[in-house]
Structures are given as C-alpha cells and as structure tokens.
Symmetry: C3
Subunit: 349 residues, 3 copies
C-alpha cells in the first residue's frame, strides 16, 4: 500500500463522518509578523499589545483572518485536495481570541452530500471546527466544495443538502468575554468613526491598491499549511486552465480586510463570515482594491461598549473602487473578484 | 462625509500643529526574524542575545534601522500620503534601544512650511518622535517633504523654514545607558577592527551586491505599516512616471547598512543620521552595492568603552563599489542611489 | 590594510587550523515562522508545542534543517566565499534539539587539504561544529569544497585527505535525551505509518511540486546569514555561467524534506545526513518534486519508542516523481537535482 496521501474523493465521504485533520499548529508572534509583512494590516488591537491590554486582553490577539486561514488550511489535505471548486462558506463564527502560544487543531464533520448529474463530481458539505489546546472552539464554519469522484461508476450517496443560514444572526455574534472597549483610543487608530457613526447603505472606498507577487501568496498559504496544489506548482498549472498558479481565495480576503482599515479603522474584530464568493480568479501580478457597503448594524447582547456592523466587501483586480463596482444584472461588474459578507465588531461611543 | 482618509494636503498643515499617528505597534522577535530574512544583517549585538547580555542589555535589541522604519512608517498616512517627493532627513538621533515586546508610537510636530512658487505644492517640515510604552523617546528626527496642495487657490502660509544642523554634534550622541562594551568579543563578529583602528578619510568597499525582488521590498515596507502608494500599486505606477513600483528609500538604507558589516563588523549601533539623499530611484531587479568613507571620529562623553564614527555610505545600483563611486562635479556618479551620512557606535580597545 | 573580508583562499588553510565563525545567532519563533512560510513543513513535533510537550520536550523544537542551515551559513564567509564548488557532506549528526531562545555558534577545524593538479584550486575538508549557548554540540558535520588559490604560484600543501564514513552508523544515532515517543499521536500527524510499517526498498512518491521564487530562496538564505554571492547578486550572476542566481542547495533539501511529509508524516526528526549531492543547479522558477527510497532500518540503543529509517531522497525540477527518477548507468536521470542520504527518526508501535 502506498503511504502517499492522495486525498479523499467524493465517494470517500459519508454524512456524519468526522475527519480529524493534521497538523496541530502553535501560533506565534512570528506568524503575526509574517501576516503583518504580507498584508500590512494596521488595526490597533492586533498591532499593539498596549491597546489590547487596555481592552482587557492578556496581549495582542492574532488577526482573526490569520486564525481562520490556519484552521482552514488543515482541512485541505482531507477535504479539498481533489476539489474542482470551492463553492461557498456559511455560518462562520469567531468565538474566542487566539493568542501567540495557542495551538490550533481542526476537525470537520460531513454534513451533506450531493452527487452531480454528470457522475464525475459531487458536492461535499463540511462543518469545520477549530479548537485551541484547551479544546475550546475558536472558529466554526461550514464550507462546501465540488470534489472529483475516484470512480465514475461509484454509487451515488443519498442526496442530503443541509439547511444553511443566509447570514449569521446578530444574536449569535460573540464579543470576547472579559473585554471592554469603553473609552477605546481612537487616537491610536487614527480615525474617530465608531459604531454609532456608520449608516446602513453607506459605501466606503478603501482607496489603496496592492499588487500581489507569487512569492507572497505562496508564503502566506504555506504559513497556513494549506496544501492545495493549484497555489504552488507552476509546472502543472502552467499546463492547466489558466496557465499559471491560482492565488488562494483567502489571500484576497486578507488583503481586502487589511485595505479596509482605511475607512473602517476601528472595526477591530471579525465576528462572523456570512458568506463569500470568489467571483473571479486572482493571479500573481494582479493589483487588488476593495470597497465596503454597510449592510446592517446590530447591538450585542449585554454589551454597550461594542456593536456589530454587517459589511459587504467587494475586492477587485486592476480596477480602483472609487465607483464602487459590484453586482450587475447578471453576475458582477468587470474586475470584481471577491464578494464577502461578514460581521465586524467596532467600539461604540 | 467619507470615512476614507485621503491624507493631508499642504494647506492642512500649520506650524506648531501636533499630529498623533496611528497605529501603535508592538515589536516582536517575529519582526526581527523578517528583518533578518529581508536584509541579512550580521551585527552580533542584534543577532545574539548572548552577545547583547554580555554588553549589559536584557536581550538582543531590535536593529536600529528596523525601529526607525517602524517609527517612520506611521507618519506616512498623515504627512506624506500626498507627497511629491521626500526631500531630506536631519537631526535624527537614536536615544534608547528597542526590545521585542516594546510598543512604538509616533507623533510629529510641524516645524516649518514653505509654499513653492508654482502654487501647486509646498514643503512641510516635521519633527517626528518615536516613543515606547513608557513614553520614553527612542528615536527623534526631522524630515521635510514636498506635498501637493488640494486647492491651488488656497492662501500660502507665512514662510517658516527651520534651522537644521548639518550634522548631529558628537556631544549629542547617546550610547545606551547601562551598557558596557569593554572586552567586546571580536571573535563573535569575525573582525578585529575597533574604533581605534579606523582613520578619517578611510574608504571601505562592502564588496557584496544584493538584488531586490518586488516581494521583498513590499513585505519590508508593509512590516513597517508604511502605506506610501508608490511602493505597492503596480496598476497605478505602471501608468506613472517610472512605469513601475518605486522601492522605499529606507529599504536601500537597510540593505547598505547590512552590507556594511563587511568592513564595519563591530559598528553595532546607529547613533544618529545626519542626513540622507536618495539620489536616484531604485526598482525591483536592481542589484545594490555599497561603500563607506569615514568622515570623522569622536569620543563619547563618559564612555571609554565605545566611540563614534561618522560615516558616509554610498549605495549604488548595478555598479560594484570597488572604485568608490560618489559625488562628481555636478551631482553624483553613474549608478549612485543613496548618499547617507550617519554616526555609528563601535567598541574601543 | 583593507577592512573588507575577501574570504580565505586555498593557501590560507592549514590542516589542524580552527576557524571560529561569526556571528552567533539566537534562534527565535520568528525564524520558525519564516521557515514555515518558506517551506510549508507539517511535521507535528515542530508544528505543535503540545505534541512536543507530550514527547517530553519543553516546547516545539526548531526544525532540524533550519538549525543545520544556520550552523552551516556561518561557515560560508570563512570557508567557501571563494569556493568554485561544494563537493560534499559527510558524517553529519544532529545531537541535541534546538529551541527558540538558543544561541548557535559554529567552529570549523580543517581536517584535510588536497591541491588540484591545475594549480588553481584545491579541496578543503572541514569538520564544522554547531554549539548552543551552553557549549553543547547540537550539529556536527564534515564538508569539502573546492576553493580558489589566491596565487597560482603558492606552494601546494602536503596532501591530506581524511577518511570519511560512507554513512553514519546506526549505533552513532542519537534520539534526544528525556524524550519518549510512546503512544505518539498519529491522529495529529494524519498518518498511521510508523517505523514498523516501512520496508527496506520501499519507494514513496511525495506527490506535490513547489515552484521556487527568487524572493523566497534569498529570504531563506539570508535568514541563515549565508553570504555566498551566487545566491544574491543578479548583476554579477547575470554575466556568469548560468546567467542567473543559483539557489542554495540547502533550499532544495528543505523543500524535499517538507514535501516528504506526504508519505513520511511521522518521521519527525533528522538524526544524521550521510551524504548529499547537488546533482544539477536549481533556479528561480523551477518546480521541485521529491521521492524517497527506504535504504535501511535500525533500532536505537536503549529506545523502544523510536527507530531510525535510512532514507534516500531524490529531488527533481520540473519533473514529477511518480516514476521515481534516480540514478542511471552514468549519472542521474533527467531532472534530478538532489540525491540525499539521511537517517530520520520515527516513532515505533
């Protein structure tokens, strides 16, 4: 028997099956520095241990999206090594902060299966849970991917498509226990705008553009131990659909989030991802821009110090966002590569 | 009102105005490792906690230039986002070491203004001060930049050009309190040459050349949270003056300083930057070389263990420095990109 | 006298001479994060402090090859700055784990010299020893390099070629003291295969390919403070033999080792390198693949929890390894760039 892991194919998944993913990973200040160098984020809570301590944290927490990517990366060898496409995310919640020294592990439960009519692929739904060394859940989310069958003749499983919420209800959002953002230092963030100042429907251009280099997205994606072949192997991808390596969709999310500091400087935490679409592929050499629309505002139960903004962030490539390019009648406007719907937390007055 | 920060224009600055810059930043061993990977410095004091402890430090301090870049980076969104050119530095002093765990913040005071005769731009002089979490000044310097006016019709301010020293006087140099470099281990640095061995007028070729990749200078510049658009956005710069991204001038300074280990191995600290000119732009793919002339030597008040060398370091691109290319009758010799005048500290016999 | 170090030439070496190399280097979690980002390793012992603690370590040790590269890098300015070729390694043993906070220094002893008949070069054999801050040996190895003579007329030294073992005997392998891999968590590594499951002669394709970018290999090599000119200077190399920068051979070793996780997931430690050949040069843009043959198995004296596998890992460029390309009648099959013979340690049932 070969000892090489070829990943799971569609017929290897069963509803109810639990996959424990390799490898647990201790997150460090080194990871935070790399994330800083790769994305250039400036949110004060993650940038400054002093700001974090004033808010009641032991030290600066790891960027929420870095924690997400690490939790996500572990699922790739078991869930999506033979994926044709990442179809979506839903019901993703950030439940506890991650600090340097914490060790993250991920487990996934298969919650749905649906073979495609061509008999060659099927959709696998998993709920993945990232836990720390105390077995506390830090991140929990659903994703679904289209996976190849090993054998076209393999019998289709009973179709079982889970019901997923269109968005995480505000009542399910969690602000970290033991924290308080009363008197949050807006001088440290450089922006006076707090929860109270944002209006539903408001659009914010994040102004800057960042060009992605091959070395950057590969370093980021390896940092997360994400092994998806399309990101790393020019020899194979050079002969493939695009003729080049495809950038991990999460890389674009992290860039858009970092860019969003300009306009959302005090939105220091990601509380939930309601859904996300990678509308078009992104490649080395592309310049990424972003803008955000405020979809909703919500108070958090028991917290008068911090509130939630539901945000829809669009990222584009090679197209500035001053005119807010987004959806059009059918699909998306030219240049749009990401349509992300998420809840951020931001201090209140 | 838009929440996007468009940066200050010339008419937004007033002499005496104090700008508190976002975002405070906790420096870590992760930052030090990235700086190591990006520049390849080998100075023993920053490389080895053991060498640092023997000199009286609690642990290895952060490279002086890394601290400078972090302090500097914070000023960009407020001071130079709409700059046409960085014109100069002066009177930059390094007053206290920075250690992993320290949190750096920067504040700038506007100390001079001078509108240009074209009415479209003006020169802004700021004194920027980097402080740690104990509110101690670690770095203090003046820089002046040419900034665009938002509105050509805006009234010119009264011209007020500060008097700046041509160089930091040796009497203003500070060797870190509580340290002693007596019996400094030259075996650990690989070079026997100490303060006593350098002569004024001596020229040193640093020999090696390092090619800069786009990913490298962008990672470095984001590590400092420097948001100057010209370094990151190929989409826009591709249509601009050079057709490509411009490398942050500080990147060349750091490369030249790292290269200078070969010939100045024991010059472990930067005490002051007297001035610096970025003579020509530097781009991805350029190979940087450097050489140094010893301009002056000075004793430090109350310290017999360590002295100061005033150094003039030239960096070139795509031109080795064995023949010491520098100034010529008018301007600079072909290939010169940096003319830096600084004080380094180096142990004495 | 110039203060620039031009490196040693063949006639500068004497048998018995001891070279103390600059610069001691404190290894940190930042270095580990960079190594992670650059190579994407997934071995659980180095990835998770929790896994390491269960095995009796104080925390996650630094990757063995990262420690090796740091120990090796220090030797370059003194041993191989004027080398024409790295000819080989032998008798390399990993004797103690390295942890974040440890400071590594390297010393080399010249153990052999042999001038070449052309009178222009000679072979220098050195035994290099890496020690931590407690003066304990962590890595010890022999390498030999062909070095230029400064002066062709310089008298040849007496020929003195050391006897070197073809491989490190299993009786000389060391499993870290104070550790136990009993009940090693194969769920954390994602593979059930332990020492007992591997058979001599077994071949394992590591499946994935990773394309190397210029920024990546230069950042890695600077992280190790390795100053070999050929890796960094496109200006000079552009005019040289290959027209481009050459990638540090150790970079390929680290990539191959990281890739080997797929098939050797539980082979968490490198105990010895028996020998290695860099069969062909590797350049930016090349995609590296790897496969491994099990050459031998050995028990370790006094340890029933962990055993040794002698492995021969081949790396290729731009050639997948499903058909196990290796040696042919004369030399190597097309695409092979590395032939590495090493001992790994892997838990037993």
């Amino acid at each position: 028997m070969t000892k090489t892991n070829a990943g799971n194919f569609f017929e290897d998944f069963k509803v109810g099956q639990v996959l424990r993913h390799a490898t647990p990973r201790t997150v460090t200040e080194g990871d935070a520095a790399l994330y800083q160098a790769l994305f250039g984020s400036r949110f004060s809570l993650q940038s400054s241990a002093e700001v974090a301590r004033k808010a009641g944290y032991a030290t600066a927490p790891i960027d929420d999206m870095l924690a997400f990517h690490i939790v996500f990366g572990k699922t790739v060898p078991d869930v999506s090594l033979n994926a044709v496409a990442n179809l979506g995310y839903a019901d993703c919640r950030f439940l506890r902060p991650v600090f340097p020294g914490d060790t993250l592990s991920t487990e996934s439960k298969v919650i749905g299966l649906k073979e495609n009519s061509n008999g060659e692929t099927g959709v696998v739904y998993v709920r993945s849970t990232g836990r720390n060394q105390r077995d506390e859940t830090v991140i929990d989310y659903v994703r679904w991917v289209m996976v190849r069958k090993r054998d076209k003749a393999a019998k289709a499983p009973e179709e079982d498509v889970p019901h997923l919420p269109a968005a995480v209800g505000a009542e399910h959002l969690v602000a970290p226990a033991g924290t308080s953002f009363k008197g949050f230092d807006t001088g440290a963030s450089g922006s006076p705008h707090l929860w109270d100042d944002y209006e539903v429907g408001e659009k914010i251009d994040h102004a800057d553009g960042i060009t992605i280099e091959e070395a950057e997205h590969m370093m980021a994606t390896r940092l997360y131990q994400n092994t998806a072949k399309v990101h790393f192997n020019q020899y194979t991808e050079g002969k493939g659909r695009f003729g080049r390596r495809l950038i991990y969709g999460g890389h674009v999310i992290s860039l858009a989030r970092a860019l969003s500091f300009n306009g959302l400087s005090n939105a220091v935490l990601v509380a939930a991802i309601n859904g996300g679409r990678h509308v078009a592929p992104c490649f080395g050499g592309d310049t990424v821009f972003a803008w955000t629309e405020v979809l909703d505002k919500a108070e958090l139960k028991g917290r008068s110090d911090i509130g939630a903004l539901r945000l829809r962030t669009f990222a584009t490539k090679d197209r500035p966002c001053a005119d807010f390019p987004g959806v059009k009648e059918k699909g998306y406007e030219e240049g749009v590569i990401l349509d992300l719907d998420y809840w951020a937390l931001i201090p209140r007055r």
